[in-house]
Symmetry: C2
Subunit: 213 residues, 2 copies
DNA sequence: TCCAAGCGGAGCGAAACGCTCCGCTACTTG
DNA sequence: CAAGTAGCGGAGCGTTTCGCTCCGCTTGGA
């Protein structure tokens, strides 16, 4: 039996998931109508739950921050500093953390969001510090580097575009290739890698290896 | 002396560069007015050069394809298959090839674009084949993988977002971190890396290394 | 000095937007 | 089982933003 409560809950989930998807595809300009359509829900139903578009996006931001913080806290419980950090990064990337970047500048930052964001920074700092102390993270990789990596890899432009074009046949290959890229990047954060330039890391990271000019 | 021709040429360059930037920031919804404003050019001047928005974006696509093909051809002239391939990839990523992805599905594909696109695929296939034969590219990395890598890394969401927010102070750090990520990913394409899973590469690529579940 | 090539931007109709309102379905209650 | 209503979907409101046209004015060229 599907009670009223069940339907409401299912719709709420569908709306948030759809909002995330549409935002990833259309960026900050994503329209409310597109979110509702993607969720298979009427616009009226959407507006009964969220008084305004801003409120919907803010809720999405808070959920995203919560996911980040929970993943980081769980990572800190891992006795192995590397697997703890790596699981955190992979968890955020898979969650699509980066795809929410566009709204960060579009919605007003509430006090709650600010606090959770600062908390997230602290947790990541701690994850990186642990890894550095254990010698399992490249010295020249900072916490900021890691958060930027999550932002960069935490979106799947190719997958989104293929889905929009209806090329569902290519989707698995694209998702697979993206997973491999993530694995490669994660592995690159570990120390003892062959190129390993001294700090400060910069252009010289490449010199003579693949730059042809 | 600035002749009429000089002004026209400068405007044309500014328009194309602005179109690329705006497209990277706003996606396929990018407005013509935004492009003109970014270029510091009147809308009227834009429309004298391009009869329609579609024509502007098509021209941008063609330029992008040309850049791809020229970079690939130059890479093939390199006697070292690895540096040839790597320079091609880095050149495309730096050019912001990936940021043009959104319009690929927004503009109608002309016959010219189709032909150039096929030619680009052939060139990349050849680059990958050479690298495979020389043993400097992981066996399980295909040409499709490489093009997806370019698409994924060839956009700078963080940099774009920071610029939109006016946080110019953080721009250098973000650009720097992105360069490092590119270097890491490129290096990960080479064979003999420690994780190196056998084909078929899939989830098991990660098992026991950093996945905590 | 005169002319017109070529610029910038005001303003047009059209499209898309955020949001409200209401008729109707179908779950709940007595 | 029948009556009531919670809650759904979507037509449509006013507003904003869009692609694009038109024209007065600047300024290089002869």
């Amino acid at each position: 039996m599907t009670t009223r409560k069940d339907i409401a809950e299912r719709n709420d989930r569908a709306l948030l998931q759809a909002a995330r998807d549409v935002l990833a595809e259309d960026g900050a300009h994503a329209s409310v109508a597109a979110v509702a359509a993607r969720a298979g829900v009427g616009i009226g139903s959407l507006y009964r739950r969220y008084k305004t578009k801003e409120e919907l996006f803010q809720r999405l931001s808070v959920l995203s921050l919560d996911h980040w913080n929970e993943a980081a806290e769980q990572g800190l419980t891992d006795p192995d500093p590397w697997t703890g950090l790596a699981a955190f990064v992979y968890g955020c990337v898979e969650f699509g953390q980066g795809s929410l970047g566009p709204i960060a500048g579009a919605v007003e930052v509430t006090q709650e969001m600010g606090a959770k964001s600062r908390r997230g920074d602290e947790l990541l700092d701690e994850l990186a510090r642990r890894a550095h102390e254990a010698g399992v993270l490249r010295r020249d990789v900072t916490a900021v580097d890691i958060s930027l990596l999550i932002e960069q890899l935490g979106r799947s432009p190719v997958v989104d575009q293929l889905r929009k074009q209806g090329r569902d046949d290519l989707l698995p290959a694209a998702a697979e290739a993206r997973r491999r890229l993530i694995a490669i990047a994660l592995d690159g954060l570990r120390p003892g890698r062959d190129p390993l330039p001294g700090s400060p890391p910069g252009e010289e990271l490449f010199t003579g290896r693949w730059s042809s000019r």
